[in-house]
């Protein structure tokens, strides 16, 4: 699905060129959920934007579905740390923005939008304005917006980073549910986070990155059984893996 070959990124700052990413080689299979963890400023978010085609890499190649990425790719759902909802639009209209911006008839997607909102527990909030919802609920709406057009690829940039621990755990479970855990039609997900337990709990593979310039330090396959539940969080297996990732991170 996603192939990164020696991807590097150097941008010009006033103080001179800054190398944000160096020689990233990584493959993400179809239906795989890969978490990127690393210290802040290691270029995780930049890497996500490079995959989306929002920023050009200055070295290497990016392929999505075997096609080189040279401009923003269609059929991708993006979720950011902030919900970035339009303040003046009701929740369901915010979800429908995905259709409108894509040049599709939003009326045709209304039923799906309402269905998605109900799926993440926002049924009955369709007509509320974003400011009437809590941060967690707003982020759920943002997730619905990303899912509206049923993209095969989800790129998530610390999507739960601004939420309190409890909401964060809840949304993690919710993400696994809408991701299609256990089904064959799972989406491919690249999930940037700085929470190691979150990465291990959600992902099939955890990619640990080094400080700037960001490189891949190590990749950990996560063997935890799916579907993952609240019990998974307390399992010794998860704990052991979190520890190993932690050790790798502190060595980098």
């Amino acid at each position: 699905m996603i192939v990164l070959e020696g991807v590097g990124m150097t941008y010009r700052a006033e103080s001179g060129p800054v190398e944000a990413l160096r020689d990233i080689t990584l493959e993400v299979g179809r239906g795989e959920l890969v978490a990127l963890v690393g210290p802040s400023g290691c270029g995780k978010s930049t890497l996500l934007r490079i995959i989306a085609g929002l920023r050009p890499a200055t070295a290497g190649r990016v392929l999505v579905d075997r096609r080189p990425v040279t401009r923003p790719i269609a059929a991708v759902g993006m979720v950011f740390q902030a919900p970035v909802l339009l303040k003046w639009r009701a929740i369901v209209e915010n979800v429908l923005l995905a259709a409108e911006l894509s040049g599709l008839d939003p009326a045709a997607y209304r039923a799906r939008a309402e269905e998605l909102l109900a799926l993440v527990g926002l049924g009955g909030f369709d007509d509320k304005l974003p400011r009437e919802l809590s941060g967690g609920m707003q982020q759920r709406a943002a997730l619905c917006r990303a899912l509206l057009l049923d993209p095969p690829l989800l790129l998530m940039d610390e999507p739960f980073g601004a939420l309190d621990a409890m909401t964060r755990d809840e949304l993690g479970l919710e993400l696994l549910r809408v991701w299609g855990e256990g089904s064959r039609t799972r989406k491919t997900v690249v999930f940037v986070t700085h929470s190691i337990p979150e990465a291990v709990f959600l992902a099939d593979r955890v990619v640990v990155m080094t400080p700037r310039p960001g490189r891949v330090a190590e990749t950990f396959p996560v063997g935890l059984p799916r579907p993952r539940t609240v019990e998974t969080r307390a399992s010794a297996e998860l704990g052991a893996l979190v520890l190993r990732v932690h050790e790798t991170l502190s060595r980098t």
Binding site: L54, P72, A74, V76, V84, W88, E100, L101, G103, L129
Partner: protein, 252 residues
């Protein structure tokens, strides 16, 4: 809710009442003559003395203020859009607009009258000239202060520039435009009166100039009262419009 919002006005009403009372009572006690400082009762009597053609003066001045306000609003929004739309246009326009804005408009007023003769139109133009600048700046700021991530969404969904403009930038700018229009409403009043001071045959500013020559101070004060009524009504209408069209922005 309603009672509470009414109670909010109590302190300012009390202060207003006390000042009025002092204004009525103190000057006679201190032997201040009426042509220097007429009391509020005399002012109200003059304001309601319809042997003075108040309705004509109020009408003329209102026309000038409204004309100036609409002109300033329209020109301001158009220039703001131009500046936000294109960097070369911004580079060309901004220094010029700053120059125009730093000109003392009061000093330009006689030139306008020289070129255009006296009447409603030159006074409206002066009003517009005084009031347009904040609209330009706020429109441009509102159009450009958009979350980078929202623009990323636009790119990912392949939305054309005009659509991002219409669905994201323009609504985002509305509260900014309205807060500038509140300033413009006040500035337009100043502009219209300045125009009338310089040369005019009718209008509330003209009344003040004439009253001053005749030492008919209560009439001058009465005119001031009418001016402030127009100003307050216009300001209130802009506030209502803002609450109607941009209810998501907290009123200031």
């Amino acid at each position: 809710m309603k009672a509470r919002s009414l109670r909010r006005y109590v302190p300012s009403l009390v202060l207003f009442g006390v000042l009025l009372l002092l204004w009525q009572v103190l000057p006679p006690l201190l032997h201040v003559r009426e042509y220097l400082l007429p009391g509020p009762a005399a002012v109200v009597r003059a304001a309601l003395d319809f042997s003075i053609p108040w309705h004509t003066h109020v009408w003329i001045t209102t026309l000038e203020i409204l004309g100036g306000f609409v002109l300033a609003g329209a020109a301001g929004v158009l220039l703001g859009v131009a500046i936000a739309w294109s960097a070369p246009l911004a580079a060309a326009l901004v220094p010029f607009l700053v120059f125009v804005n730093t000109l003392p408009k009061v000093a330009v007023a006689p030139l306008f009258l020289l070129w255009l003769g006296y009447g409603v139109i030159p006074n409206a133009l002066i009003a517009a000239l005084i009031g347009f600048f904040p609209v330009v700046i706020n429109t441009a700021v509102g159009l450009t202060q958009v979350d980078e991530e929202l623009l990323d969404l636009g790119r990912v969904f392949g939305a054309p520039t005009w659509k991002v403009f219409l669905k994201i930038r323009l609504p985002n700018a509305l509260p900014y435009v309205f807060s500038a229009l509140k300033v413009t409403a006040t500035a337009a009043v100043v502009g219209a009166i300045v125009g009338e001071f310089v040369a005019s045959q009718a209008g509330l500013g003209t009344v003040i100039v004439n009253a001053q020559t005749n030492l008919n101070t209560p009439v001058a004060f009465a005119s001031l009262l009418w001016i402030s009524v127009i100003g307050l009504v216009l300001y209130g209408l802009v506030g209502l419009a803002a609450r109607w069209w941009a209810p998501w922005a907290d009123a200031t």
